[in-house]
Symmetry: C2
Subunit: 655 residues, 2 copies
Amino acid sequence: MGNPDYAYPSTNVDCPHRVAIPPPQPFVKSLQYNLKETFFPDDPFRQFKNQPLSRRLILGLQYFFPILEWAPRYTLDFLKADFVSGITIASLAIPQGISYAKLANLPPILGLYSSFVPPLVYAMMGSSRDLAVGTVAVASLLTASMLGNEVNANENPKLYLHLAFTATFFAGVFQACLGLLRLGFIVDFLSHATIVGFMAGAATVVCLQQLKGILGLVQFTHATDLVSVMRSVFSQTHEWRWESAVLGCGFLFFLLLTRYFSKKKPKFFWISAMAPLTSVILGSLLVYLTHAEKHGVQVIGNLKKGLNPPSFGDLVFVSPYLTTALKTGIITGVIALAEGIAVGRSFAMFKNYHIDGNKEMIAFGAMNIVGSCTSCYLTTGPFSRSAVNFNAGCKTAVSNIVMALAVMLTLLFLTPLFHYTPLVVLASIIISAMLGLIDYEAAIHLWHVDKFDFLVCMGAYLGVVFGSVEIGLVIAVAISLLRVLLFVARPKTFVLGNIPDSMIYRNAEQYPNTNNVPGVLILEIDAPIYFANSSYLRERITRWVNEEEDKLRSSGETTLQYVILDMGAVGNIDTSGLSMLEEIKKVMDRRELKLVLANPGAEVMKKLNKAKLIEKIGQEWIYLTVGEAVAACNFMLHTCKQDPPKNDSEAYSNV
Amino acid sequence: MGNPDYAYPSTNVDCPHRVAIPPPQPFVKSLQYNLKETFFPDDPFRQFKNQPLSRRLILGLQYFFPILEWAPRYTLDFLKADFVSGITIASLAIPQGISYAKLANLPPILGLYSSFVPPLVYAMMGSSRDLAVGTVAVASLLTASMLGNEVNANENPKLYLHLAFTATFFAGVFQACLGLLRLGFIVDFLSHATIVGFMAGAATVVCLQQLKGILGLVQFTHATDLVSVMRSVFSQTHEWRWESAVLGCGFLFFLLLTRYFSKKKPKFFWISAMAPLTSVILGSLLVYLTHAEKHGVQVIGNLKKGLNPPSFGDLVFVSPYLTTALKTGIITGVIALAEGIAVGRSFAMFKNYHIDGNKEMIAFGAMNIVGSCTSCYLTTGPFSRSAVNFNAGCKTAVSNIVMALAVMLTLLFLTPLFHYTPLVVLASIIISAMLGLIDYEAAIHLWHVDKFDFLVCMGAYLGVVFGSVEIGLVIAVAISLLRVLLFVARPKTFVLGNIPDSMIYRNAEQYPNTNNVPGVLILEIDAPIYFANSSYLRERITRWVNEEEDKLRSSGETTLQYVILDMGAVGNIDTSGLSMLEEIKKVMDRRELKLVLANPGAEVMKKLNKAKLIEKIGQEWIYLTVGEAVAACNFMLHTCKQDPPKNDSEAYSNV
């Protein structure tokens, strides 16, 4: 190291390091390896190795039912902590459940049913210790808007209800299949930026829907986009009820105040956790005492007492509705998974334990399949509820069991108490929960760090707000995928320069103090060479060479003689790419330039070898590092007039 | 270089090269740069720079009409060569045109019309000197099958004809738009492997369709898949006509024989070029003399004399047919473009001149728009005809003009001669042309070099043969895109080892003689870190670390202390990737491991800086090369007990 001039020790030139062609592997073995890396990157069978059958059976059962693993170690201290957090989340789950069921155009009691059975299933099968199971606003809204296109919930409530169960069933099947088939990575295609934009958009849309409740309107549009909702609201200004509005704004103010307070002093998290239930009790009392239900304040009305009735027989598998239910199930299922898994992972990060995405998917799937047969609709792990659970100090999934039992007691004995609960309070609860989902700071961060991610985020947001939830999602995923494709279709190419006093060559733009090597153009290609970029790379490399020759010509310096391609960042090459390299080689030959490759990786060497391109380029023109390649070029430039090496005389015809 | 032990000169450790953060660029400037690289990689405005307006105008005209550029330099020698090749391709164009028009269920005369006007347009606007313009079998078949779904060509021939013109019009508009909007790279998404499989599939399907002509069947299925055709053929064995079959097989044998002969002796290329016209003449004479048309041998019948009638008024822009025509136009337009541009590029490669893909698209588009208004259907640059043109020694696009004039003379005076031409001869001509498109050697080459490309190729082939042309295309493009996505979603990660007697670190699998560095795990990531792979990379890196620790533990060597990530091949990182790195950093801290980055590129450093991750990782833990990073780690491992550097004491708590 550290030779500023080009008088390298001759060993480097005479005998540089050889670029190895990796030993050939049988096709089946490499296929096996690739399939394992694609579907089992976390190596789940590791612990099964070298174990007797009975032990394997137990491990397998523990894989699907993690409760078997941690229950034996459960202690009384854990129970105390889980009991407190379970009761806390139950107090949040009851009003939220009712609110979100209204949002999904389903009977309010379904919100309670959905907070009873699914948490029990999750407690047995889930691997997160902090997730609190329940319904979520976005999936509820999606259910309403997608099923609403097919069946009117007011005109045909029974069919609508059955469709909702069916959609939940398909969502569960789809989630479980993703997990069983190890396709969990599909959820990864919803990038962080997509989720920020999508959640904010959905929250905006959900808030807009609450204008119906806040203003006490009876007629309301079924569309969810901003324009339709605003038109619907302002076309009936004479129908606005001030009683509703005052009550709604009052409770909203109360809820936001408690949230602000709890955020300032995290010790008092339970204040904001209890606020929704307090609002419901206060609101109900107020209505009961003032008989406001007779003055335009709509109330929940009768809720049936009793536990979840079975609903397996209600699933609709007949033709005209099947596709709607399937579509709704798949889309809501993916959204619910994305939220649930992201939430589970975040809290696992905090507490330093591991969550297996595919295992979680199986748990979510089972929870929704069982839920759809017991009068529940789509559930997942909502962020707000899980955060309260975490803050309340839960230790294991037992907090979900405690919550389920509290909801069970409510279902058995306390439902009549909700008769006078005003709908406007539910609207306030939803709005206050939704405002927390609009993470404008994250959007600003995206703008600062990565403009493309910001575009994805805004695409999702505007798509949801001005189009629909599905449109927003499709836009965001399409832009995200376009980015990946663009990365490959338009790879970066750099000119490399020599970092002074070293044999290191780096991007001349990033390191402005690098020196050019006279007569040698060094290019780095920053992506795999695939069909999608081979034409581009051909054009771009030619352009680099043209520009370099123009520059040298105008400055009257030495002519260009060597073009070194640094292949270090080229992860793979396909047959289109190989043809491109062959063409480049021909073009260079015709222009009396020598093509030199530096640092091709294992995959690339394997392909070059199979396509017999190594012979065409010449094994002696493939170097392990750019430094060695430059050294060799310089050696030729300065010495070959006296003594050209044999078997390669063509290369020096222009020296 | 060349220090086998780790006693590096202290300058490397105390003052290694700093990794530069590229100077910040204004957003608009970097956007401009990226847009230029995406849409104008070939820098078409280069020659316009610093020119007066009049010169720019001339250059602009020359851009759209390359004839203005080369016509002034045209010589008599060129004309001689172009005349010979023009006449040769005309002799091929006339029978092929008639055959392909029959394949498209269009009146045979359209094949002649389409060999008259479009070549004239291309001669003015095209930049290839070797392309011979004409209709192609695959696009003809596609037209028949796609339009046939909407309108039956036998029951409503007029509407069908008008729809074909409309589809051609849309194909032209689409092609020209792609060129004008610089979206030529869309054609690149049809990879070489896709085209091999697709062409072979289409050729198979076209050959199957010829069974109708060869066996003299009157009823035939409209489907193109193997199963339907075979069922249709074998359900009417009693309708087979031996006269047809004998005639067809005879001519097919003759055509294949001449092709074989010309392939053996390229000097006699004209034998196979003239063979189709010879077959037509021989076949017509035979029918005329034996009155075979009365014995079950179908003939072309009357062809109208005269030049192309205008057809602008026939374009159908009304609702029920518009979508069909649009869809057909876009799909056939893309296929035609892909073939035409690939053919143009191949011959330009041979003769060492340059073809501008976007300019060619504009020429193809103009040719088809004009064609659709003058009773032509979709034309492009077919491979077979262009190869004959090239072999015949054409010099410029004037050979297209000669061909067009020859076809014009035929249209004006010679059409009655085709009255007795038997359809079975046309079928033989098509089959013999199609057999040349089934490039099984290319498929074998794909299998040997790249299994995934072989999969794409077979997907296209089987999709076309057993499904339909569109299905095959969709399958192939989907598999190709999946490959690009998989490359990013499941990036390769390697353990690097030290190449003996150097400071170079390379993939230990590719270079089995590399040495591990005790206490240091060096990982290379071989793709950009994007949302699609950030979860995977988190799992995979954790697994590498686990495996390394297990290995060290079982061997009782030193414990793992440093994890170096070689970011040299990481071209970019998005916000999901940044969060992943931050999490990895936290996990490493918790396991008392030190995370070290080596050689992050310009984009990655920019993002790390903006996300403030450089401070979190520590500027002192980011090195320019893996060698320097390892040297620093070793220095710490061996010396820090005496003298830990300040501000970084946490890192050594476990040493």
